[in-house]
């Protein structure tokens, strides 16, 4: 028996918040915002034909992550140097330093942070799983033609080109 095609395609990986993971999925006619605790999932659907606009604003996510990784790296680096000076082999602090430096570089590569909001006729909803500007650009570029196609009947008809001016009759 042939397997049924999955109705949803993943747009973003799960982004964790305090006690849940959020991800964004695309179906044929709607977006699905999934909020999961690991034990249950909640779904919010946004029909493509109802999307009026997207807002994209900047966020401090990159700065906060950079500061966090830098703090961890600085502390573990100091402990590592201290252990070296004492003649010990700083295994754990070296591991923490490597992790922090990797995190710092990774965070830099992900690019600046952003928040994306979707506007419909009844609400303005943040899409919490889109948190980096580069990824937001990719996702919105993918969604734009789909939304425009879903709203084709709403788009104003193209203005027909003006007919060429008639040649004036030759003067006798």
């Amino acid at each position: 028996m042939a397997r049924q095609p999955r109705p949803y395609k993943r747009l973003t990986r799960a982004t964790s918040s305090l006690a849940s993971y959020r991800s964004l999925w695309l179906a044929a006619d709607h977006l699905l915002v999934v909020s999961s605790t690991g034990y249950s999932e909640e779904y919010r659907r946004i029909l493509l034909k109802n999307i009026q606009a997207f807002f994209v604003t900047s966020s401090n996510r990159k700065t906060w992550w950079a500061a966090s990784w830098a703090a961890i790296g600085a502390i573990s680096g100091l402990v590592m140097i201290w252990a070296f000076v004492d003649g010990a082999t700083p295994v754990f602090s070296a591991i923490f330093t490597i992790i922090a430096v990797t995190g710092l570089v990774w965070n830099h590569m992900l690019g600046p942070g952003c928040k994306v909001y979707v506007v419909t006729g009844v609400q303005t909803l943040q899409l919490p799983s889109i948190v980096r500007r580069r990824r937001a650009g990719q996702i919105l570029a993918r969604l734009e033609p789909l939304i425009k196609a879903a709203q084709e009947e709403l788009a104003p008809p193209p203005v027909p080109p003006a007919p060429p001016a008639a040649e004036p009759p030759p003067l006798a």
Binding site: Y8, G38, Y43, Q52, A53, F55, T57, Q126
Partner: protein
């Protein structure tokens, strides 16, 4: 240029005011100073046709099941009841009445609002208590119970399948077997 409605600032919720939305725009909220990029779509400025019911004028007119004063204009594709323009809702490519949408909430994938992930629950009961292994005497049967109970329940809408249930079931079964062997050994030693 097309005039659009006054939208709220996504950050401070104060009205950005009616603007001329045209293509991708940038702007700044005058209240909170947030810079934003704006990507509008035709739905922002288009006016949708409103469902206006027709009143019953003649006794022969079929009436809406839910509004006796309105003419029936459609048949619910789920329950077959005659419904008026207000009650005929486009839902997942079908025209159905609101009670049928409510009834479909737990079954129809286009309407379900939440799902319990029995795989996640079973896996937690099967794996986490290993850290405090004596409690697995209680938690492993519970994990197996969740596996059996959740096997035929609908899972996540976005995938995952039954892999967690299988892993949890195997882990729980192993723990139960281990406990069984331990009890057998204790009894035979006595």
């Amino acid at each position: 240029m097309t005039a659009g409605p006054a939208l709220p600032c996504p950050k401070c919720r104060s009205a950005l005011g009616e603007q001329s939305w045209h293509g991708t725009e940038r702007g700044r909220c005058s209240s909170c100073g947030t810079d934003y990029e704006f990507i509008p779509f035709p739905a922002l400025t288009a006016s949708r046709p409103r469902a206006v019911p027709k009143s019953v004028l003649m006794a022969e007119h079929a009436t809406c099941f839910y509004h006796a004063e309105n003419q029936a204009e459609a048949v619910c594709e789920s329950c077959g009841r005659f419904v008026c323009a207000i009650c005929a809702v486009d839902f997942g490519g079908r025209r159905v009445c609101p009670p049928c949408i409510m009834a479909a909430k737990d079954k129809d994938t286009n309407a379900v609002s939440s799902r319990t992930l029995y795989g996640g629950i079973a896996l937690t009961f099967a794996i986490l208590p290993i850290l405090f292994w004596p409690v697995t005497l209680l938690t492993s049967p519970a994990a197996l119970g969740f596996v059996i109970y959740g096997w035929r329940k609908p899972g996540s809408l976005v995938g995952g399948g039954r892999a967690r249930l299988v892993i949890a079931g195997l882990a729980a079964a192993l723990q139960i077997v281990a406990w069984g062997l331990l009890f057998v050994r204790l009894i035979t030693e006595e």
